[in-house]
Symmetry: C2
Amino acid sequence: MATRVICYGLGPIGQGIARLALSRPSITVVGAVDLDPAKVGRDLGEVLGGPPLGVLVSERISALATANADVVLHATGSALARVSGQLTEIMALGADIVSTCEELSYPWTTQPQLAAELDTAARRAGVTILGTGVNPGYAMDALPLMLTAPCASVEAVRVLRIVDAARRRGPLQKKVGAGLSPAAFAAQVAAGTVRHVGLPESLHMLATSLGWQLDRTDDQIEAIIAEREIVTEFAHVLPGQVAGVRQIASGLRAGKELLRLELRMYVGAPNPQDTIEIDGNPPIKLTIEGGLHGDIATAAMVINAVASVAHAVPGLASMADAPLVHYW
Amino acid sequence: MATRVICYGLGPIGQGIARLALSRPSITVVGAVDLDPAKVGRDLGEVLGGPPLGVLVSERISALATANADVVLHATGSALARVSGQLTEIMALGADIVSTCEELSYPWTTQPQLAAELDTAARRAGVTILGTGVNPGYAMDALPLMLTAPCASVEAVRVLRIVDAARRRGPLQKKVGAGLSPAAFAAQVAAGTVRHVGLPESLHMLATSLGWQLDRTDDQIEAIIAEREIVTEFAHVLPGQVAGVRQIASGLRAGKELLRLELRMYVGAPNPQDTIEIDGNPPIKLTIEGGLHGDIATAAMVINAVASVAHAVPGLASMADAPLVHYW
């Protein structure tokens, strides 16, 4: 029997999730929710630029209380404090939740009280909540974590993710600061607008899961400056301007760097890749040539996680303890 | 509070598991079982070649009914039909089971009746049974499966594992046929003694988890012939003699190869590696340089899976649906 889902949030990522859900015979989309007045009341199919589906976009999830959804696919924002009310409303429907909210991917360390409240509410409702995506949720946390499974001991984990922003959607190129002057970039760093949300969550997922008490964490962010002119569909970057961003989250204990997550996202990156190195017994080094593609991959993670939350114990789960997520 | 485990089976792999269990502060070894009269009644520490531990080796698991074990680490054999009685006896203790039995890693397709019986018994006892190891259990099934998580679609999965048997323990070199004449190798293939147990289970874990109905499966096995003289601590292979084995399990639908698992284990392999290729959207290619080391890794998988079975729903689990296994 097909899994009944509601698509909550119809921005670019949410639309990608909805399209992928509609393409899967094992999933039936039984409802959609978005706050945007330009979308409310319209047919989901038309919002997606296709033929009508007979599913109207609701303004509130409570309007779908009788839709009998198994899972709600939630993609409305990155900040947990701003979406936790939505999650609570969804739980009232008795549906499991898979969300792209970056801060939900591992909130136990960064927002422990909110995490505990959501966990309690989810257990009470008998539902599972999971925050996932390609990053956070996979490339820099769950995959490195799973790579430690064959290790008798682990001393350190280092992850390097290089994304060529030129191959990605326009908003990402803007988000990484492509085309800004170094001064304008610095102002955006100060305002918090170029930061990749979720890197601290990835760091803490790894630290807690590996049983490591960190006594210091660092989160550095800096511009990568273009050395040559780079022209993409969405950006024109001159030498000396910003090509993108490099962000490093590290976790230390007694002065030793146990965890290092380095993310480089810039237009024209010549060697996109995901590399994971485990210092342990045995040592392991993994490389994914070309890297994992973020836009497709985040929608895919959400859809593929639907089977996982259905099989999980109730509560606030994370990719570190949920049943293995895979294509199905 | 430390997890209480019993080590059941004290052959080379079982001893490696016991040593690793003893090295972890979060695990307490509360009992040991082995059939070998040379081990029964002796102190586990002495069997392991170290100082006494105050844990005597029992002949039967039923003698440990009051040991209050959380998990039994089971390493007595590869053939499920031969160890299923042991698993049933363990369940009577109310303990979860992590086993190295290769055929237990995914018995649903190859031995469906036995799988269903074990599942029913485990649910009734409220315990989880998991078969795992580095191969089967990880390198050629769970890891490729997890690598599909960021894929919107998957058309085919190919795995290539190359193991340099010269770097591994003597029994493995013997098992792969190193030093045999081609005729003697063919006789051993016919007798079933050089076959890697578990490759069909890995194939079916992938097929079922990905939702693929196969209409044909193949399992080929052939000798890799030495082109030069190879001398190791355990074997002396002349040119023209067998260096090791190449085994390929493939799964087809409508003439198309959807799954291909190729395992090469031979002395002197110049480029040991694990390579996984996903044909999908996005396509993914992963390489682990040097490959995952099997001997250490299998013991590590078992120990690391202890946390996973404790968190899993009761029943016969597999690495495809158990909570993510990782170092802890």
